[in-house]
């Protein structure tokens, strides 16, 4: 198998900018389901259509597993439906480990999560997300696995905004989050490579400092 050289966080940020997984829009900021309005939009679902980028992401995840967790400490890989299923599948295939995925369905009274595949009590599960904005869906995935009797300590995501709201959630639910790149590196690389002007970068930093009120000031 072709060996992919270790790619650092800046290089991953640039790849995401190149395939338009990360986009900026100051005229029409995007509204999240949480109500937060944002000038930065991340759609990591595009990655699956670029085999080389897909492999870089996979190698990045494997590196974290080998350096920080250990393959022997993972029994099952769980992806959050739908966006993280492909990445969970790639990791599971490479490690030759079982996989499940967790999806949430709309019910008459709110949302209900459902695990697809087999989970046995006591299994150590690694949760894979594509992107963390508020962290809500990652926590849902983790909690439904824990209710099923699994042990979940670690969560992977390609990107995270690194917002306080998600930091607090992960702390509260005792989940270690590992990401391949983060907000700061993305905007640094974006400025360096002219995806963002200096002025725009400043605006984005303001958003980061206070995402909830940013859209209304």
């Amino acid at each position: 198998m072709k060996k992919i050289k270790n790619v650092n966080e800046q290089e991953i940020a640039l790849l995401l900018l190149k395939i338009h997984s990360v986009k900026f829009d100051f005229k029409k900021p995007i509204s999240f389901s949480s109500g937060i309005v944002s000038p930065i939009y991340i759609d990591n679902r595009l990655i699956i259509s670029y085999p080389k980028v897909r492999d870089v992401i996979l190698e990045g995840f494997l590196k974290i597993i080998d350096e920080k967790i250990g393959r022997e400490n993972i029994d099952v890989i769980s992806g959050t439906a739908s966006a993280a299923i492909p990445h969970a599948a790639l990791i599971a295939e490479r490690l030759n480990k079982p996989m499940v995925y967790v999806r949430s369905t709309e019910k008459a009274h709110g949302k209900e999560t459902k695990i697809e595949g087999v989970i046995k009590k006591g299994q150590k599960v690694l949760v894979v997300e594509d992107h963390i904005s508020t962290g809500g869906s990652a926590v849902n995935n983790v909690q439904s696995l824990r209710i099923a009797g699994a042990k979940v300590k670690h969560c992977f995501a390609i990107t995270s905004y690194g917002l306080k709201v998600s930091d607090n959630l992960f702390k509260k639910y005792k989940i270690n989050l590992f990401t391949l790149t983060d907000f700061q590196k993305i905007i640094d690389v974006a400025e360096e490579k002219k995806y963002l002007s200096k002025q725009e970068k400043k605006k984005i930093i303001k958003w980061f400092e206070n995402p909830v009120t940013w859209g209304y000031t």
Binding site: L46, P86, K97, M99, E116, G117, V118
Partner: protein, 224 residues
Amino acid sequence: MTKKSTKTNTIISEETANLLFSIKAITLSPQKPYRFTSGMLSPIYLDNRLIISHPKVRNKIVNFYLNLINKEIGYKNIDYVSGTATAAIANAMFVAQKLKKPMVYVEVNKGEIHKSKVVGKLKKNKHVLVIEDHITTAGSLVGNVLAIRNFGGIVNRCIVTTTYRMKQAEKFFKKYQVKVYHLTDIHSILDIAIKNGYLKKKERKLIEEWVSDPVGWGKKMGFE
């Protein structure tokens, strides 16, 4: 199809059925039928999503996919692999990764099939192989195919792990001009079920009747 490929396909078909029974992805209950959330009664329950949790079975299934693609379609005739969300996304990813091809998936809108959505980056005029985990009436498969075509992709062929070979599905394939290959079908599944003792010979007809008339079956058999 050559004689040799027919023989290989029979081996794949029987082996797939065996594998699916071994992980309980297929279960039969002709005397006490299952009730689907839609309300419909069925003597057979199938959940191919379980495959992802069994690496050995998963690897074999993916190899069968590759075997079929190589023989019937040719790797070079495929630019993209498309899976139907959510059940076939993982399978499509396994296949796309082995072929080193781009992948997309389709979120099928069952109410309005023309509003189904392609996720990922698909270029126009590319040949797309659609992968589905199972076909009952083929509604979601058609949703996937139409979404790709609406976007400007070319789809002639699909591969599916299992199919009940219902008449409505076959009609759909003709109507939308799509050739569907399967790893295994209801005939092989029932052959293997009888061979392995999961089903009595005389119960076979009960399940075949469900396949030919799934909606009316429950009443006809006196279950409701």
